[in-house]
Symmetry: T
Subunit: 144 residues, 12 copies
């Protein structure tokens, strides 16, 4: 069983930018932690970082053939990308939305996710752990 | 006389996703129907599917040199892509907006098209036939 | 097979008023073009122009007994007539909404159609041709 | 030179209903005062009271053939009748909007006139005198 | 003592259209039930169905001379007819607003009644029984 | 067959406070009138007055085991208590919302009921009689 | 009997600026026309042009001791000066609001007058004639 | 180390009401699952269900003396209880918000949590598992 | 002469929570200061802290029999409790609203008090002194 | 220690205008009461009335050199004068906002103070006493 | 060639107030820098600081006779002064709007400039340098 | 010292499209003018035109390693690209936003920049010169 993790735009800069908001860890550290938990939960985890909205749509559109679930941190696209929303809505595998920071404790425009209504659920505010909780949630869903 | 048809993001999945909204036909079937009608109307039809907003802008920007009109289904970008709007507004050939589903019978956020104000006109809600009506509209415009 | 065409308020003045918006053609010319296309498509077309909201409701309510489809240009009523919307929603035959001008390129209040959510689809912005495209759409629907 | 005065819905009840808002005078008294001022200003005044939106549209649409100007108190239709607005906008003679009460001193929804943007001007709040001032305004316009 | 019942636009189609919303009963059945309850409560009931906004205004304006109260289901006009609102406000007899369906459980735009603020009260959601409860309410008011 | 009547906060002060809005009758008088009508309609009526939102939720949650229907005047909670809305929505017996005053003729914030969308129907504006009409509506529903 | 005319900010530039909106006449020409009509109507007219909001408030506050009515064109202050509104509301003589251009045919923010609700009435859109109609309205009011 | 779990209003009815939204499991089953996971994670879990806003505030206010963290499903109060928000904001231990259903896939008014901005984070949409993920998140936070 | 002081939810935690907003003083210190000033002004002061909305309504409803005025800090309920508003509106003794912090210098949602329109007046932003100024205001009112 | 009191526009008319809102006392009476209380509290009070927004800004800008605090009733400017807000924000001495009437019990547009967020606090609704309470608040602040 | 620089209200306090927002430099230092750059660019620069909205209107209205361009920092008036907007719109010389701070990085209400739509352009956020860039822009415009 | 200039989507068409809005100059002419001014100011300027949102994010993310500042004309992305906003916010070098046209003099939706709040400053409306002023601003910032 394989699970796809999609990191949205600017997340390649984790650990360098705005560490008071996002923490000091890097994307590589998140991916390592996901790999470790994946082994523990006996699922294969594949992580990609993509800056383009179109590229993310394509990945989601194609994912159903290879993966059993998607964990996505849409980053800035969370708040306006109807294209990613439509990709998620049209996807036959469960999609879980995660956020490193608590998006509800930030600027007003970050309180709205256009993707959440078509995702299974959302985990927000636990730093790197949001991904790990999202992975557990995905595995629990697939076990049912 | 050549006419360019642009299919926006996620339309490559037609026939697989949400068939209660979009119908069972595939993108290939739309393109075949467009070719057939093109022959009948004596115009050459070229169709492309593009997921990236930037790519769509580039296609529209370059189209004037080769095509006499554009038929575009901007899909999710309909509702927020000012970039595509600006490409359409700056384009010297007529652009016609089409939608497979009736966007006014769906979620509130789909009722607004940022592109419609700069298109010649819009055809919405007739399934695959929206494209064919759009093609007829384009040919009629060019004949005037 | 008979198709009813309803022209809303003020459309009797086409060709006299605001020709930069609506064009120079008259209502009689539209009706003649509809008759011609109707013959070509082998459907009988009946067109009426009605100024009263109540009269339009009555026509729509009664149409199912005689007609197979309705093409309506609700004109100003497009933007607020819940009465016509309810008549359309309660009607057992398909209703297609057409507009001569591109309503999305005009004043903000014209961007919203209260009727579109209950129509099959909408054609907007192609001048007299919007009606003809609407007639084709109706015939295609009925052939399915 | 003839001037048409159109009284909108419910104005036939003037003098009977809500006299704290509209005053004690009747529609007949307004019409008599208009006749008297018309004679003084050497114009022929014709006044009609119409309850139906469609009927008002038809009167405005036809007025250009017989009258030189219209004075209209659209009453309740002031606030939502795009149909009357379109009739006024498409009319080739000047249209002046008048109100007995000060619509800006009443409920919020009465502060907006959808007709004012396409009228020549508006007179509001002077009781029966609003009509007389409107008639003077019309005659002054026509004299220019 | 006579009571006027006014059925607004499209209510003539009850029992034929959208029966999941409005139920299977017809307008004739409502009127029969009103007659029966009228006899029980010793009032004469007169019911009319009117599609035109202007006609409804005229009926309300004239009702005070013959009737002791009005029960009105303004149907679609509920949500925007300031003309009917003004007729009700100017009327010297009590007016009771009734709705077959629960308008608050339907589309957002049906949640607002422009007439309710000037009616005595409103009964909504009890199917045909809304009229009967309205009739009882009227009779109780008149008995006080 | 037993029917539960719930009076929301501050209704214990009826007859003492704001009698121009709520009338001179007391809660005891409403309850006596309900008892009398209950006997006539052959149902047992139990009435409680509760100030706390949580207490009202508990009563509604438990009511299904003993009562066949609920008549509720949520008073101030009408306008914001999603907790009571959820209790009503989750309740397996019909719930009818009643209001003494015409809430649509008062301050803007009283025009919205968050409970109405999940109630069977609403009766508003008939003074004490709103409860009696609500009781009749409940009994009629249960008889079907 | 004396009447005060107050011209608000920037009106000293009439005839020089934006003549497509305001016309070619100058403030001196308006004042001359007012004098002429004043003589005809047998009232003394005094006109001042003031750029400062505070100065206008002071003039209005003091006017009651000398003048019988005020005609004011608040110009830009129309749309936000609560200070002038309060001065008008507190003033014991009638105040009439006039506008040269049709403020409802211009930018959205010019459609709202914060002063109109406390004025007797408003005349808008008749060019220089708006002042003259306002003067007639004032004299008529004072004669009653 | 002890962790407090607070279930808000109406959650005592889980498994009985709206099982298409909330699932078939009962509150007792959630609590048993929390106990089991608590043992695994070596924390003591105490769960309470409270219907009253005031009671929830008191529990949160007092929790700091006995518990190391709070997991709260504020249910309906999520959307408006500033009182609970203030209790959470003033609390010296971390508070985690959980929801059984995906609140972003439900009615518009459920998309806003007034509590989320002052919680550490939020888990929404995973059914009973939302609580278990919340418990893991709490334990992970406390281990840091 | 007795005066009731009501402290709303979470105010029992003063001095422990968010001292940068609310200051370091405790509720006991406020009550002591009120007692001291009460003696100086020769009124008896009784203070209670209540977390429940229903309890606060009951206290206000009953207060008229024993107290001459109420000073209330509704805390979080300030912003949404129509129930407390209605209790205040229905109360026959004057009610004064006080706030420790300047609610207008905090989050947007704290700028609106639903209670202020029915209170005599409001004192906000002076820390513990807001209560003392409120007490003086109450005593001054009662002396008139 | 000197304290500056600034009375905004139109307050010179107190006692003459709208006495149902503002009371019968005059500005001179307020100033006398302030002088009397100032003597009692051992501070020197200087009061000025200013109609111009710019003049008020200048007074506030210069006050820090001579005064220890400012008490301001910005009157109509309360609701829109960002200029006065900026003067207050840039001022190094405490500024207290006072209102004679309860601004929250009046028109909607008076509920918002653009100045309150940068003042120390606000006293509203106690008539002339609002100034005296403001003076006490200022003296208490300065004593700390 | 002469250029007029207008500094709006409160700018005389630069260097003393809120230096974290506006910087430590004084108005005199800005004027000196403008003089220096003016000499370099061979234009004469005249700078004035004005607190009154009316005074600013008058300066702008008169400027065309002496100056070739205006550079204005409208300060607080930026956000609401339609009077200054109208003065700018009516002015025959180019007007450039400058801001010391980045108004888009401050409170929401500072994001909107009512003057920008009628200015040539805007420079915002570069501290004292915004003026110097504005001066260059003006000179470049005049050179064309 | 090197400075990166980023031109957003559709700017490659400058000089061909909508020249009444954007002017007749081409992108190559802007770049030449930037080179020339760069030499004068002794900085190296590198300019790129990018249509894709993701590509622009990547360029900004990587720029800090090679460039000292960024000048960006985000074109259509200005109004909605939170992705570019986040890239700018996370960037360790100063970013200056420029616009050829005066975005505040165009359609309402162009008045809002989601990027401006995280940029250093903005220059808008000076045609090609906006870039040159932006370059000067950047160099001045770096010199400090």
């Amino acid at each position: 069983m394989k699970i796809l993790v999609i990191h949205g735009p600017n997340l390649d800069l984790l650990g360098q930018r705005e560490i008071d908001i996002y923490g000091k860890f890097t994307l590589a550290e998140i991916d390592a932690a996901l790999q470790k938990l994946g082994q523990e939960l006996k699922v294969e985890v594949k992580a990609v970082q993509l800056a383009g909205e179109g590229e993310i749509c394509k990945q989601i559109g194609a994912a159903g053939q290879e993966y059993a679930a998607i964990i996505i941190n849409p980053a800035a696209y969370t708040h306006y990308s109807v294209a990613i929303r439509d990709a998620v809505a049209g996807c036959q595998i469960p999609v879980i939305e995660v956020h490193i920071s608590n998006i509800y404790a930030r600027e007003e425009f970050r309180h709205k996710s256009v993707i959440a209504p078509v995702a299974v659920g959302q985990v927000s505010g636990f730093g790197m752990n949001s991904y790990l909780l999202g992975l557990r949630a995905a595995v629990d869903l697939l076990k049912k």
